[in-house]
Symmetry: C2
Subunit: 247 residues, 2 copies
């Protein structure tokens, strides 16, 4: 049977989601696979919605795996997993799904969230947000964010060498107290793409980068922005598999 799980993790102490076969650095995938393999006394591989980089967090990462058994107490399985996993990984839900479901290929769209502290340095949440500690022109950032929405070539806003066309469905920016939160939803994201878009929006918000330049850079392939917001503020927020739409 195929099992789908939703997991949250604090990325600070991980080298990233993906298993590091050579360096043996700590990874989310490796820790979950080890615990599952212990529980089922057989080698279990998991397939996630995608990777997250070193230091990036996940509020709702999704993965699936297959087991040869048919009668599994999913409540007990979730509890066993959480007892055996370290405190920076937590399985939020677990359910049986059809063999058609695939954590990566079934995705309709994904949402990332980015958190920026524009107030005084926050000693408690330094690993959980970007301690910018400067005021941002959020209205200007909202105007700039609209330029990213739609289907574009994001060559200048990622670190990959090919396959740059992605569609951003929406960017929402909210400002409450000292926290600026940016939600970005799209059909897929290339490496560092969210952090480069956010980094660019921050430069706009600090009046250090002209927002009109964004229009030119979407499509051109001769310039790569050097603004990359730090990993501490980035969260994989949600994966949409369209289940609710099918209801």
């Amino acid at each position: 049977m195929r099992i789908k799980a939703i997991v949250s993790y604090k990325g600070t102490a991980f080298y990233g989601y993906q298993i590091q076969t050579k360096t043996k650095e700590r990874s989310v995938q490796d820790e979950i696979q080890k615990v599952l393999s212990r529980i089922f006394s057989s080698d279990i591989k998991i397939v996630a919605s995608g990777r997250t980089d070193r230091g990036v967090h996940a509020i709702n990462q999704c993965f699936h795996f297959d087991v040869d058994k048919e009668n599994i107490d999913l409540y007990k399985l979730k509890h066993s997993l959480n007892c055996l996993l370290e405190n920076d990984i937590h399985i939020k839900s677990i359910e049986r799904v059809s063999e058609d479901f695939h954590a990566r290929f079934s995705i309709l769209d994904k949402t990332y969230q980015y958190k920026i502290n524009v107030g005084e340095f926050d000693v408690f949440n330094d690993e959980l947000l970007f301690n910018l500690n400067q005021k941002l022109d959020v209205e200007l950032m909202k105007e700039a964010s609209s330029y990213f929405v739609g289907e574009h070539s994001f060559h200048n806003f990622c670190s990959n060498d090919e396959d740059f066309i992605r569609k951003i469905n929406f960017i929402e920016i909210t400002h409450t107290d000292n926290l600026v939160t940016i939600n970005i939803n799209g059909n897929g994201f290339r490496r560092y793409m969210v952090r480069m878009i956010v980094g660019t929006l921050i430069e706009v918000g600090l009046h250090r980068f002209n927002k009109e330049r964004i229009k030119e850079l979407l499509g051109e392939e001769n310039f790569r922005v050097s603004f990359k917001a730090p990993s501490s503020g980035l969260y994989l927020f949600d994966i949409n598999y369209g289940e609710n739409k099918d209801d």
Copy 2:
């Protein structure tokens, strides 16, 4: 001249506030003294309002120190300190005070804050609160908390061998979403006293300890409660030196 500073720190990676001369473990006092001594090129000792234990945080800890100079740019000093200190310590304010001021002896009262997550396990804030993950009967806890208010012998609610009389001025318990927050104000606190009071209130809130027993235990000296809430949820919240009252 005498300088007063307000500092916040995340206690997770410290052995505690106080310098560990034998073990050389990381302490808040040692890190601040080292940086101040570097800045002033002389041996500076700081005097804090009191110690905090291993893993306990501070939102507004206060300390004072003396320097032989008279003309110091306090804005620059604060900035230099924050540049040289690690990201889990942050100097929030710095000001010149009269020689009469003493960070420990001038205290009128102190407030500690304790944070309990009564919702789902929170992977992100595990170092910043107590992940109880069970519902609490907050109304019953409020009733129980009133028994602690006033002057009592706290022998059964601390780990010290003498000097147990302290006065609790108020205990405020608030419950919003999944967070229960307890603020305790008093004229002084013995070792583990806040954590033992909170631990007892949690046992009451879980219906595992009869609140009427608290009345008996305040004053008796033949029983010590074994409930000690973990350090991760505890914050030194505020120190009152009566400055505002003098205005």
